[in-house]
Symmetry: C2
Subunit: 110 residues, 2 copies
DNA sequence: CCTACATATGAATAATCGTGCAAGTATTGT
DNA sequence: ACAATACTTGCACGATTATTCATATGTAGG
């Protein structure tokens, strides 16, 4: 199984991957993201209202997403308008929903 | 933004999604998964060796993946052979790598 | 039956993560 | 200049999570 070990992605690639998935591993951020998938571009207070976050929580969450290039901001006056940065997230999102849909009742163990 | 709120996925869908992404949000489990993507079917001790886990850590991790239908086991004698349960994971994996590849150095904020 | 081996599991500890609160910055309106 | 609005940020705290150690289960061989 030497060969397999050598074929593994580099340490830092794996860590980046984990980080991306980690960003999507929270229901709150996921609601934020799906609101943006729906709404296109929204300001923080509307996002907070739509997703049930406090402003603070929404801002914290958006910052994380922003730092990791999942969303982008456009600032205008005193509001900040957020949008998704690219389409990968939508694909990940949809793919994961498909996985759930599978409802893989597969019995067998545990 | 009423309309957006109503278009959000149901609470439990979002939670399931978060859980799936959560499973992929750990470098250790990701190494396990990519070893399986490479190796096809492997026993726990080879997986542990290939990914740098202790046997115990590998077993814990595999159990998580197993419970959530990401991997399946086949037991033969005293070993347990694990394989990926379906192809969604591979797609999520590849899609996320594409996202990284983007290397979206996009400056702007933070 | 007894020992060795492969894996699984539980409990405990340590690290990480999300949220609220309070204070800070920037922008608009009076 | 002052107050109000929209958002951001640091900190502290509770909750979740990963890892290790010790023990358990199950199988194979002597």
């Amino acid at each position: 199984m030497e060969s397999v070990r050598n074929a593994l992605p580099a340490q830092d690639v794996v860590e980046d991957l984990a980080q991306i998935f980690g960003l999507l591993a929270d229901p709150g951020r996921l609601r934020l993201i799906s609101a943006l998938l729906e709404g296109g571009e929204m300001c923080v207070c509307d996002l907070a209202a739509a997703t049930g976050h406090s402003m603070s929580a929404a801002s914290h969450a958006l910052r994380l997403l922003r730092v990791h290039n999942v969303v982008k901001v456009r600032r205008s006056g005193r509001q900040a308008y957020y949008r998704l940065a690219d389409s990968h997230v939508r694909m990940l999102f949809d793919l994961a929903i498909t996985h759930i849909g599978h409802d893989g009742r597969d019995r067998g163990d545990e």
